[in-house]
């Protein structure tokens, strides 16, 4: 057990990949590529308020390769894995530099989820959309309130990230730098991870 865990911390273990591959095939019903509908049909996701955002993240080119912007229709296993690597835990003996890099990558993923049009800025519209989805499952908060919350949060961001602004300035949205700034207390490098072990294929209910 222990050796396996340690290996996984350094690289993705072969076993791990096999497990994920199995899952991939299960989701895509044995096709080479995975489509949006495949993910959307996972029953466990039904209750997740941000399920659309998550699914989009899998088809977002920014999460697949650094330079491009846009959306792909289908992803292969490699891309699937690539997205999931964002959720690998940090190695125990990681250097400060790497830790910072890791932190940025992880936050970038989160940022991309909000920045739907890919222009590098989370605008108020996008943010509202996100908050609305996030709170939608609660079902108890009026839409107006959701907007109000989003607006208030945005104001919060604006006032903390841009303490002093020229009168002519206009806060067009959250940039990635601001995003880093407001989430500086979030311990993302130690919390954003998922245990890819113990893949329980027997209990898995596939959407198909």
């Amino acid at each position: 057990m222990s050796s396996r865990t340690n290996r996984w911390r350094k690289t993705v273990s072969l076993e791990q990949i096999n497990n994920l591959n199995k899952r991939f095939r299960q989701l895509s019903s044995n096709k080479e590529t995975l489509s949006r509908e495949d993910l959307a049909s996972i029953p466990d996701l039904d209750n997740n308020p941000i399920r659309l955002q998550i699914i989009n993240a899998f088809f977002d080119k920014r999460n697949l390769s650094q330079s491009e912007v846009g959306i792909v229709q289908e992803i292969g296993f490699e891309e699937f894995l690539m997205v999931l690597t964002h959720f690998q835990p940090a190695a125990m003996d990681i250097t400060e530099d790497n830790r910072e890099k890791l932190r940025r990558t992880k936050l970038r993923f989160l940022f991309n989820m909000h920045d739907t049009d890919g222009n590098g800025i989370i605008t108020l519209e996008e943010y509202r959309q996100a908050v609305e989805e996030l709170l939608s499952k609660a079902g108890t908060i009026a839409p107006e309130t959701v907007k109000a919350i989003a607006d208030a949060a945005m104001l919060d961001v604006a006032s903390t990230t841009r303490g002093k602004m020229e009168p002519d300035e206009f806060y067009e949205g959250i940039t990635f730098e601001h995003f880093l700034q407001i989430l500086k207390t979030l311990d993302i490098e130690t919390t954003m991870h998922v245990r890819f072990l113990n893949l329980d294929t027997a209990n898995m209910r596939c959407g198909k």
Binding site: M1, D44, I54, F87, E144, S159, E169, I182, R195
Partner: protein
């Protein structure tokens, strides 16, 4: 408030009851007059035979017990006060309140943990008592400790437990609490036994079982000491929760080990066979799980009960305490783990109770809980110090004492390292070496061990006094030495600290997103991980527990994000009123409203300053609107009347009303099932209030406003800027910024301007104080066309504005502005001009012409009447 008082009275009652039992016993052979805190004269009991009616009789003996308890609590708390004062004021040379008590060196208070200092003070007090009495009159009685002092601390710990972290690290906590404690107990007992056999302690009348018993009572990390020390250090959450959780949960183990070995000692060595040992193991599970279940059962009871208590808000907080205490006592009389029971009761009920109860009660519970917990903690430490000054309990055995200290220290570290190593094989984020060091070092022993050792039977345990003195020394050693060095150690090791600054709303929202994201990824990759389980539990909770345990209407406002938003709003509303008060504008209101003369004008000005300011660049749109509103004057008339009715408004009243209104709304929001529209209104209003205050803080930072692309605006901008420079008073500054704020919104299309102009006007009024100079200036270099369109009455009023006391404006402002800010808010940030928000509002703006110009007082009073 009343709730708070209730709580205090309850506590007083508890304290008083303590005295009957404990102090009556203590004071039996003691002369109370020598007590340092009191210096009260001895009671001259009342005469039995009276010859005449006594006007006053001396009844010291009747009140002696409670009186002493109250005085001791007072003395302990004053000690605490002393320490705190020194800690906070160490750099000021101001007169120190209690100079005469102890002159503590500020540097000392910085280095020492509070608990250590309290023990020191206890020594001093104990020395005084002993010096006077030649016998130690007061000491911490186990009964007092376990039944009155410990429960509040445990209940508070459970009630304010960060649930998610607790559950997330439950595995690690349990491993340390169960296996770690057993290991500590066994290793210490066996180690001492080995040394005893080896002759390192000279002649001692003891044996393996007795030493194991001693090991088990001193093995457990003490919650009181851990909380006291770790709260000052602020280590990161994971570390804190592991040490803290361990200290709470190991109680089950301690109780079992203590009872089992106590029984074994009575049985005697030969009678112990495998059956007895298996019984012991079973009893562990019964005690631990039974205790937890009792706690959860009481948690459910509290939750159910608080569903019904909204009619009696004053007693509401009391239920929490009574039930918490009952859960403790119930577990105790069932010989289950009382600490576990009380902890789980708090952990389980906190969420439901907090939503079920009114906000006021929640605050009361929190405050009172802290009063109780802090109070007993203080008393415990002071008495730990006092109890030591008693030669009759001190037996010195170098070998035994030093070896105990050594073993405790060494075995603790060994246990932590080994257990953490095992845990790290399974943890995704392993605990580093530094964390392990702090965990090992945080193994503080405290009053629980002391209380247990006092319970030992002197006839069975010949070396009881040695055990007591060793326990005391261990407690002093860990609390003082380790407590003192904890902070430097944490600094030196650069342990990750907890972030103390308050999280922003945006951050909270992001955290929530983050949680859902992890769950989703687990779902997609087909994992059954911690997030998955947490999510499943959540769904279960949502489906069943909330329905059963939560007030149906309270469920509505339960959402975490909404609560934070709500809290922020509350804070904003408060600071908003405070700000108004500080500026003194409310003070004026009292006089002016009594005068009752200027209302009309005052209203006029409110309207005038709008065109004045908007005029320059808001070309006709607002005026179209304005003109299309023939009812403006009528409107004003109406308002005028309303205001006259309310002439006895004074500042205080207004303030009250404003504050109360906020709360009131919240109540209706969370309690009654409100009509949807109304509901929205209320939320809106909360929001507007927030926005308003936020905008002000924005303004002061000169938060960016206008959209650069609008060129037409710039001329105006310059003007504004000039004006703001020219303005002398800071009041006016706010004003001008308000102006800018508006410009920002005006960047939208003309269609919006119609919607936007109005709010702006309102906001203007809201910004309050108009500087006459400003107005004049505006008028003088007025190049813009709309000016002439100003209706005569408005223009006239504009001139009058200089005569109007700012406060009147302020009076209007309070209830007034928020209603309109709603429209302003989205405009300010939105890049898209026609969002639904606005669209929804604009018709209201237009058709709302007759009653539209927001009726401040009417509004306020309307609520006032049914409050």
């Amino acid at each position: 408030m009343s709730g708070l008082w209730h709580g205090k009275i309850l506590m007083l009652m508890v304290v008083l009851t303590v005295s009957r039992h404990s102090l009556a016993f203590q004071a039996r052979n003691a002369n109370p007059s020598n007590q340092p805190g009191t210096n009260a004269s001895t009671g001259n009991g009342t005469e039995n035979t009276i010859t005449t009616l006594p006007i006053v009789t001396w009844k010291w003996h009747h009140t002696e017990g409670p009186y002493l308890v109250a005085l001791w609590v007072l003395v302990s708390w004053i000690c605490k006060l002393e320490i705190e004062t020194h800690q906070t004021r160490q750099h000021s040379s101001s007169l120190q309140l209690s100079n005469f008590v102890f002159q503590l060196n500020p540097a000392l208070t910085n280095v020492f943990p509070e608990s250590g200092l309290l023990i020191c003070i206890g020594w001093v007090l104990g020395g005084i008592i002993y010096g006077a009495d030649k016998v130690q009159t007061f000491r911490l009685q186990p009964f007092t400790f376990f039944y009155y002092l410990l429960p509040p601390i445990v209940l508070d710990a459970g009630y304010s437990m960060p649930n998610k972290q607790f559950m997330g690290n439950l595995g690690a906590i349990l491993v340390h609490a169960v296996i770690g404690t057993v290991w500590n107990a066994a290793s210490l007992g066996l180690g001492l036994w080995g040394c005893w056999l080896g002759g390192a302690m000279g002649h001692l009348n003891t044996g393996l079982l007795q030493l194991l018993l001693f090991g088990s009572l001193i093995a457990a990390v003490d919650p009181v000491a851990v909380i006291a020390v770790f709260e000052e250090v602020h280590v990161n959450e994971v570390l804190y929760i592991i040490v803290f959780g361990e200290s709470l949960l190991n109680d089950g183990v301690t109780v079992v080990l203590f009872n089992v070995f106590d029984a074994f000692v009575s049985l005697g060595g030969p009678a112990i066979n495998a059956v007895e040992i298996i019984k012991g193991i079973i009893s562990f599970f019964v005690v631990a799980f039974g205790g937890s279940l009792v706690g959860i059962a009481f948690g459910i009871l509290i939750s159910l009960l608080t569903r019904l208590t909204k009619k009696t808000p004053t007693i509401e907080p009391g239920f929490i305490f009574v039930f918490g205490y009952l859960s403790y006592l119930t577990a105790e009389f069932l010989s289950l783990s009382a600490i576990l029971s009380c902890t789980f009761c708090g952990v389980f009920c906190q969420k439901y109770v907090n939503t079920n109860m009114s906000e006021k009660s929640v605050n009361t519970v929190r405050t009172t809980m802290k009063v109780f917990a802090n109070g007993s903690e203080t008393v415990i430490f002071v008495f730990l110090g006092i109890s030591a000054i008693d030669p009759s309990i001190w037996v010195w055995n170098t070998g035994f004492i030093l070896l105990t200290l050594l073993f405790i220290f060494v075995f603790r570290f060994m246990g932590v390292f080994v257990l953490t190593w095992i845990l790290n094989q399974y943890r995704l984020v392993p605990l580093g070496l530094i964390e392990q060091l702090v965990m090992g070092y945080g193994g503080l022993r405290g009053a629980v061990a002391y209380g247990l050792v006092f319970l030992l039977d002197e006839n069975k345990y010949k070396e009881k006094n040695l055990m007591i003195s060793t326990t005391l020394l261990v407690v002093y050693f860990t609390v003082m030495l380790q407590g003192i060095t904890m902070k430097p150690l944490v600094n030196w090791l650069k342990v990750k600290r907890a972030t103390t600054d308050e999280a922003m709303l945006a951050e909270k929202i992001m955290n929530r997103t983050f949680d859902h994201m992890l769950v989703a990824i687990e779902d997609i990759s087909g994992q059954i991980g911690h997030n998955y389980l947490w999510d499943k539990w959540h769904n279960f909770e949502e489906k069943w527990l909330f329905r059963i345990l939560m007030n149906p209407t309270a469920r509505k406002s339960r959402d975490y994000i909404f609560n934070i938003f709500h809290q922020l709003n509350l804070k904003d509303a408060m600071s908003y009123v405070q700000e108004g008060e500080r500026r003194g504008s409310l003070a004026f209101v009292r006089n002016d409203s009594k005068a009752d003369v200027d209302f009309n004008k005052q209203f006029d000005t409110d309207f005038t300053d709008m065109p004045d300011i908007m005029g320059p660049d808001h070309i006709p749109v607002p005026f179209v609107l304005r003109d299309s509103v023939p009812s403006v004057s009528l409107n004003m008339h109406e308002q005028d009347q309303k205001m006259r009715e309310s002439e006895d408004f004074n500042a205080h009243h207004l303030l009250q009303q404003h504050l109360y209104k906020g709360r009131k709304q919240r109540h209706t929001y969370s309690r009654k099932q409100p009509v949807v529209n109304r509901d929205e209104d209320e939320v809106q209003e909360i929001f507007q209030r927030t926005m308003r205050s936020r905008l002000e803080s924005f303004k002061s930072a000169k938060m960016g406003v206008a959209q650069p692309k609008k060129i037409t605006k710039h001329s105006k901008k310059d003007q504004t800027e000039k004006m703001s420079n020219g303005k002398p008073a800071d009041d006016s500054k706010i004003h001008s910024y308000g102006d800018e704020d508006f410009e920002f919104s005006e960047g939208d299309s003309a269609g919006d301007a119609a919607g936007g102009s109005f709010p702006m006007a309102a906001y203007k009024g809201g910004a309050g104080i108009v500087n006459p100079a400003y107005m004049a200036e505006m008028d003088s270099n007025e190049p813009m066309p709309p000016m002439p369109q100003i209706p005569p009455w408005l223009a006239e009023a504009g001139e009058d504005s200089s005569n109007v006391a700012p406060s009147q404006r302020a009076q209007l402002r309070l209830p007034w502005t928020p209603t309109n800010l709603r429209r302003l808010a989205p405009l300010r940030l939105s890049t898209h001009s026609n969002d639904s928000f606005l669209l929804a509002d604009s018709p209201a703006t237009q058709e709302g012409t007759e009653p539209q110009p927001p009726l401040p007082l009417q509004d306020g009073r309307g609520r006032g009447t049914h409050m």
